[in-house]
């Protein structure tokens, strides 16, 4: 038996070991930072219609909520040191066409100026969570903000890229409905997953997107609205993903992998046997 054969056998074995080793290494990703609270909102996939305008639909209660803590906005002026909304429970659904997100949070009083907003990064460029504020070493992208205010009774679809650039979009694609009951607001936002508007976040099932939240308590204290403008409760970026449809092709690939490995064994043994016989 020549060196060539020896070389080939060794090469084959080395390749296999490398391949198995490499895929082991790729398989183990470290967990994200962030601790015990939720890190992501899951938009559960359902077959039928989604309760796009009903914050109290029974379907919502079947879903496991994500929960995020909120901070008073002390990042830039005008700051606020104490806010009403301290955390929010978030549930989501989609049916492949439409999506809806339900925000549930405590607020003792129902006021005309109560408001809630969901913010998304748009496209592939990273955007700072504070209204897509300018970054100094990275070219940032735009954010899409869905804003609901009790007294308006609807959602406004907005865009921002930096402070003082917040504006309502030409194409309004978002709707929202709020219901207050015994100290709890439930506000549902809905929209098609895809809108074709470059200023909107486009949600593709299976893809991770960045999301953040903000809330204003519109209670009148000493003749003025308590929380307004930049004085609000905020979060920084978390993740959201529309659940992809179940994928059974994975089992096909498992069978393919097993067949390839078995074929390899078969050829190996057969060749060695042939070699021994001759």
């Amino acid at each position: 038996m020549g060196y060539k054969q020896i070389f080939n056998v060794l090469l084959g074995l080395v390749l296999i070991v490398t391949a198995v080793g490499a895929s082991c290494a790729f398989a183990s990703d470290p967990p994200p930072e962030g601790g015990a609270e939720s890190v992501a909102v899951r938009l559960y996939l359902t077959d039928g219609s989604i309760p796009a305008n009903d914050p109290n639909a029974a379907a919502w209660d079947a879903l496991q909520p994500a929960e995020f803590k909120l901070a008073p906005q002390v990042h830039w002026p005008d700051r606020i040191q104490e806010v009403t909304v301290k955390s929010v429970k978030v549930r989501g659904m989609h049916n492949g066409q439409e999506m809806a997100i339900l925000l549930e949070y405590a607020d003792q009083s129902e006021d005309a100026a109560d408001a809630a907003a969901i913010e998304f990064m748009v496209g592939d460029k990273m955007a700072h969570f504070a209204h897509g504020q300018e970054m100094l070493q990275v070219e940032g992208g735009e954010v899409n903000i869905w804003y609901w205010k009790k007294e308006q009774g609807k959602a406004t679809d907005m865009s921002a890229k930096g402070f003082k650039t917040l504006r309502a979009q030409e194409n309004q694609n978002v709707s929202a409905t709020g219901a207050w009951q015994e100290g709890t607001w439930r506000v549902v936002f809905s929209r098609p997953l895809q809108t074709g508007d470059e200023h909107d976040v486009q949600i593709t099932p299976g893809e991770w997107r960045n999301v953040a939240f903000a809330f204003w308590d519109g209670e009148i204290v000493d003749g003025a609205v308590k929380e307004r403008g930049s004085q609000k409760a905020v979060s920084s970026w978390w993740y959201v993903r529309a659940e992809p449809p179940p994928d059974n092709s994975i089992y096909g690939y498992v069978v393919l992998g097993i067949a390839l490995a078995a074929g390899f064994e078969f050829f190996l043994v057969r060749k060695i046997r042939r070699g021994n016989e001759s």
Binding site: M1, N8, V9, L11, G12, L15, I16, A19, V20, A22, S23, C24, F26, A27, D29, P30, E33, V39, A40, K69, A71, P72, V74, H75, W76, P77, Q81, K86, M121, M126, H128, A130, M135, L136, Q137, N210, A233, S235, S236, W237, R241, P244, D247, S249, I250, Y253, V254, G257, I258, L260, A261, F264, E265, F267, L268, K271, I272, R273, G275, N276
Partner: protein
């Protein structure tokens, strides 16, 4: 085009085209590492098929060859052989599964916490003397501007700290400002989260860009107050060498 080499190449190209372009027409695309694994298996099989013709492979492989062919095996050796033959395909199958199984975890984040500062901030010295008055003034400014996030006790647990990911730095932890020079802090406080380079994920940081609100003098004094209050001292130039 009849040689074993040409056939192997055609087989591999065919396999690649199949895995990469044809299968995704029907199902989800396969990750690169799995395509690599499958191609490696195909290549190894082809090499064995075409190149290991006859010869005394036994001489070379010796016990391995006898083990694989099962010549004259009984008892434990025979069982071990079957085990190996069953386990190897299962290992490949398991690898395939773990690579493809849908994950509910968001993408892993490898944020660099202490990236290199821009050149103009390297090696700056605090121009203000460490007098009790200056330290005191720094602590007062810290209480006003920084404590809502970084905490009155310098522990990163201010009332506004929750809700931010990453959380505000804990200055009493020896892993933060004790590792850093004053010039580094000057950069971080002046330019804030938005001043970070891409590997530090500036879009996630809630650290304000203080240069728009505070004069340099205040920032240098805050640095003094911060080290003093946290019971840490800055890393100096001598330690660097």
């Amino acid at each position: 085009m009849k040689g074993p080499l040409a056939k192997t190449v055609i087989l591999l190209v065919g396999m690649y085209v199949f895995l990469k372009f044809i299968l995704p027409l029907f199902t989800a695309p396969l990750p690169a590492s799995l395509i690599f694994l499958y191609l490696a298996l195909t290549l190894a099989s082809a090499m064995i098929f075409y190149t290991m013709s006859g010869g005394s492979l036994d001489e070379f492989m010796g016990p391995i060859g006898r083990f694989l062919t099962g010549t004259g095996q009984t008892g434990i050796a025979g069982t071990a052989r079957i085990l190996v033959f069953v386990l190897f395909p299962l290992l490949v199958g398991w690898q395939t599964y773990t690579r493809l199984a849908p994950s509910d975890m968001p993408p892993a984040e490898n944020r660099t916490i202490h990236p290199a500062p821009p050149g103009e901030f390297v090696g700056l010295a605090n121009p203000y003397p460490r007098t009790p008055e200056n330290v005191m003034m720094g602590k007062g400014l810290y209480a006003a501007f920084c404590s809502p996030c970084h905490g009155a006790n310098f522990d990163g647990k201010g009332p506004a700290a929750v809700g931010f990911n990453p959380p505000p730095a804990n200055f009493s932890d020896p892993g933060t400002i004790a590792q850093l020079q004053e010039s580094y802090l000057f950069w971080r406080i002046k330019k804030g989260g938005v001043g970070l380079p891409v590997e530090a994920m500036p879009w996630k940081s809630a650290m304000p860009r203080w240069e728009v609100e505070l004069p340099d003098e205040w920032i240098w004094k805050i640095i003094m107050g911060e080290y003093d209050g946290a019971g840490q001292s800055p890393r100096t130039w001598e330690e660097e060498e």
